[in-house]
């Protein structure tokens, strides 16, 4: 068994204009996903919008530079994640395909294990 991180990328502006019913539908979707895949789920969270993000880098001299905003500015921002356990990529894709992400999609990344 391997662990995979399922990253949910969605258009934040679409979320900004979504109504109560849409919000409820998505939350119901996540609850249903959680119930149906409880055996595979190892963790997961929703994130505040990327405008709440703070990025840290070091400049050429090694000095820490703290900036407002996400690391990469893209139309679709990281909005949440699940940590799942699956036998292989096919099984991981099967689980990830059930994650609600109407305003974008999900990315599946294998978790690296160090010896």
């Amino acid at each position: 068994m391997s662990q995979y991180l399922v990253l949910i990328y969605e258009d934040e502006s679409a979320w900004g204009t979504a109504d109560e019913a849409t919000f409820k539908k998505v939350m119901d979707g996540h609850n249903e996903f959680g119930e149906q895949n409880a055996a595979a789920l190892r963790g997961g969270n929703a994130l505040h919008p990327s405008s709440s993000a703070t990025s840290l880098r070091r400049d050429a001299t090694g000095k820490l530079v703290v900036t407002d905003g996400a690391f990469a500015e893209t139309k679709e921002a990281l909005g949440g994640y699940y940590l799942i356990e699956a036998a292989d990529l096919d099984e991981a894709i099967k689980i990830a395909s059930q994650v609600p992400a109407d305003f974008g999609g999900v990315e599946v990344r294998p978790i690296r294990v160090f010896d």
Binding site: S2, A87, L89, D90, A92, I93, P110, R112, V113, D115
Partner: protein, 393 residues
């Protein structure tokens, strides 16, 4: 051999190493023990034994490296699977053609791992440089390992979706064998046989798939003409020069039947249309009697669903026969800046032929030289040199 070894190691790189070791063992022991009668079986056995040794070493080190094959699957396959499904090469082709890999990578991996092409031959089949292809293959193998792409035939539900990539792979294997990218022979029978074998296997596995039917028809029809493609001295003969009475009529009938079956399913797929074009050529009583207008019409349909510059180039050739070399040349002109054709020798040699037929000797000659620069197949090179010679400047 590699596919059988991968089933033991569950890791492509390790399996490749074991196969390498088997070959070097053959080099050291065969001179003293003599060459075994079944060399392939001997090498496979040695490679698999090395793989098992490797696994033992690995388990004593207690390392949990990610493996493609899970233990249960492996045990199952050894004793009871249906003969087709248990074919290691079929498993490997579905691993290589996994949708988590880009389509080009899928084809490249299959050529390298299933058909044993060198990295340089794969690079040429893709019209890219060797370092580019080497990097792409290394990335792909790493992704298979780290992301856990499984080594098995997909479930029935996933099977149709995975088929198109597999068909593209088999088709490219066939075209690579049909005109070898380099070397002294025009064709590589081993690759043609491998493509046919893979295609027949898919036909049994997916009997209703029109794409499989179309591809099998295409390969059968094209291969039915293979005997006449070279003359007594091994020289290249064009379709117009070939003795059609030597073509394999049974294979042509089989292929034509498959084309009709494939075209009955709508919409017509890319391989079914290509096979229909091949059937027109195979069934025409002579070069002159070929229905070129129908050939162009089929290429037009093909371009709609498969807008590839190579298809456009073939269409231009047919246009040259319907409307004359001037029209063919005009159709080629549109493809001049196509980056995918920049290192494709057939673009230059087709232009050279149109110019030759128009009597533009100087331009024709320099176009033939341009084609010669890009061509690495000795038989094709000899043909181009003969044409240049005939032009006589």
């Amino acid at each position: 051999m590699l596919a059988a070894t991968i089933r033991v190691t569950g890791d492509i790189d390790v399996a490749e190493e074991c196969v390498q070791e088997a070959y070097s063992q053959a080099l050291t022991t065969w001179p003293t023990t003599g060459v075994p009668t079944k060399t392939g079986a001997w090498l496979t056995t040695v490679a698999r034994r090395k793989a098992i040794d490797h696994l033992r070493r690995q388990s004593t080190q207690d390392r949990l490296l990610p493996r493609i094959v899970d233990a249960n699957e492996d045990a199952k396959a050894v004793d009871g699977d249906a003969p087709l499904i248990s074919d290691d090469r079929l498993r490997l082709i579905f691993t290589c053609c996994h949708p988590a890999l880009s389509l080009e990578t899928q084809v490249a991996l299959t050529l390298r791992l299933l058909c044993g092409l060198t990295t340089s031959e794969v690079a040429r089949a893709f019209l890219v440089t060797e370092p580019t292809m080497a990097a792409r293959l290394a990335r792909a193998k790493k992704k298979i390992r780290t992301s856990g792409i499984p080594y098995r035939v997909p479930t029935a539900a996933d099977l149709p979706a995975r088929t198109d990539a597999v068909l593209s792979v088999v088709h490219l294997v066939f075209t690579t064998g049909h005109t070898a990218p380099s070397g002294s022979e025009l064709m590589r029978r081993d690759l043609i046989e491998r493509a046919l074998e893979l295609c027949r296997m898919l036909r049994v596995l997916l009997p209703d798939d029109a794409g499989v039917m179309g591809l099998l028809a295409l390969i059968t029809l094209t291969d039915a003409r293979q005997r006449t493609r070279t003359g007594p001295e091994g020289e290249l003969l064009l379709l117009s020069q070939q003795d059609r009475s030597l073509w394999d009529r049974d294979a042509i009938d089989d292929g034509a039947r498959l084309v009709r079956e494939a075209l009955a399913q709508r919409p017509a797929g890319r391989f079914a249309l290509m096979a229909a074009i091949a059937a027109l050529h195979a069934q025409a009583p002579s070069w002159e009697a070929t229905d070129w207008a129908e050939v162009v019409a089929l290429y037009d349909l093909l371009l709609v669903i498969w807008p590839s510059p190579v298809v456009a180039l073939n269409r231009a050739v047919a246009v040259g026969f319907v409307e004359g070399p001037d029209a063919g040349l005009a159709a080629l002109e549109e493809l001049r800046d196509e980056p995918q054709l920049a290192s494709y020798s057939y673009l230059a040699s087709t232009r050279a032929d149109f110019l030759r037929r128009l009597g533009r000797v100087g331009e024709s000659s320099s176009a033939y030289y341009e084609a010669l620069e890009l061509c690495s197949n000795d038989v094709e090179r000899a043909f181009l040199l003969r044409r240049i010679d005939e032009l006589g400047d």
